[in-house]
Symmetry: C2
Subunit: 137 residues, 2 copies
């Protein structure tokens, strides 16, 4: 029997719940430097995309498309950065980051570039409502 | 009518052809610091994963799984890093990088970390044969 899904404490600390899809939960990174979202399949003990079943991989592809379209509509980025790294936090999570030519790290990847910037709580609540309305529309 | 696919000159210069799948060509990065491969859909004018058709996205998911399994078998990495960034080279390309706890950049992402290291030509040919045999097996 597979064990129950539990969110990794580091992901819990660094992001906030946005909404649940069929396979994944959508979360927002608490680094306000970028509109930065995570798709986290609610599966235990999975560290690599290709270790999911074919059906789960295709569900993730669909949910990534839903999130990417919502980010495009909400923020109109110059580029989306989508990545599954997991060198630090092994629980499978897929970054979806809206990038702009005038953002802090451009054109470098965001990881390790600039110290995280905190959200004002009301800005965070607004952003969560904005993206979840768009995802669930 | 859509224009013909042409590989971006920067991708042409920084990588070498490995093999063709149904949607993508597989290429190897010429940075010998890491076993580093690219999946490049042979489509013109596509910059984002979610701008492909549903069928193309699912083909890419399948081909990413094929490449990831081949990398796992050939190199036994501690972690795979899979990413579509495209801030510098806009043509859609998906990095597949075998990461090891003792590699130069670990646990940081590889981009911008260490100067690229050239392959010895025979080592490159061996690595291309190794991964293509595994992909096409």
């Amino acid at each position: 029997m597979s064990s129950k899904f539990e969110l990794h404490p580091r992901l819990e600390a660094d992001s906030r719940f946005v909404c649940a899809l069929s396979l994944c939960q959508v979360r927002i990174s608490l680094d306000a430097n970028y509109p930065w979202f995570l798709l986290i399949p609610e599966l235990s003990d999975i560290k690599e995309l290709h270790h999911m079943s074919d059906e789960q991989q295709h569900m993730l592809t669909n949910e990534s498309q839903i999130l990417a379209k919502a980010i495009e509509i909400c923020f109109g980025p110059d580029k989306l950065n989508i990545a599954s790294l997991g060198n630090v936090v092994p629980q499978l999570h897929v970054h979806h980051i809206a990038r702009f030519r005038d953002d802090k790290a451009w054109p470098a990847p965001v990881w390790g570039h600039s110290p995280a910037q905190s959200y004002d709580e009301s800005d965070l609540a607004d952003r969560i409502k904005q993206i979840s309305d768009c995802i669930l529309a």
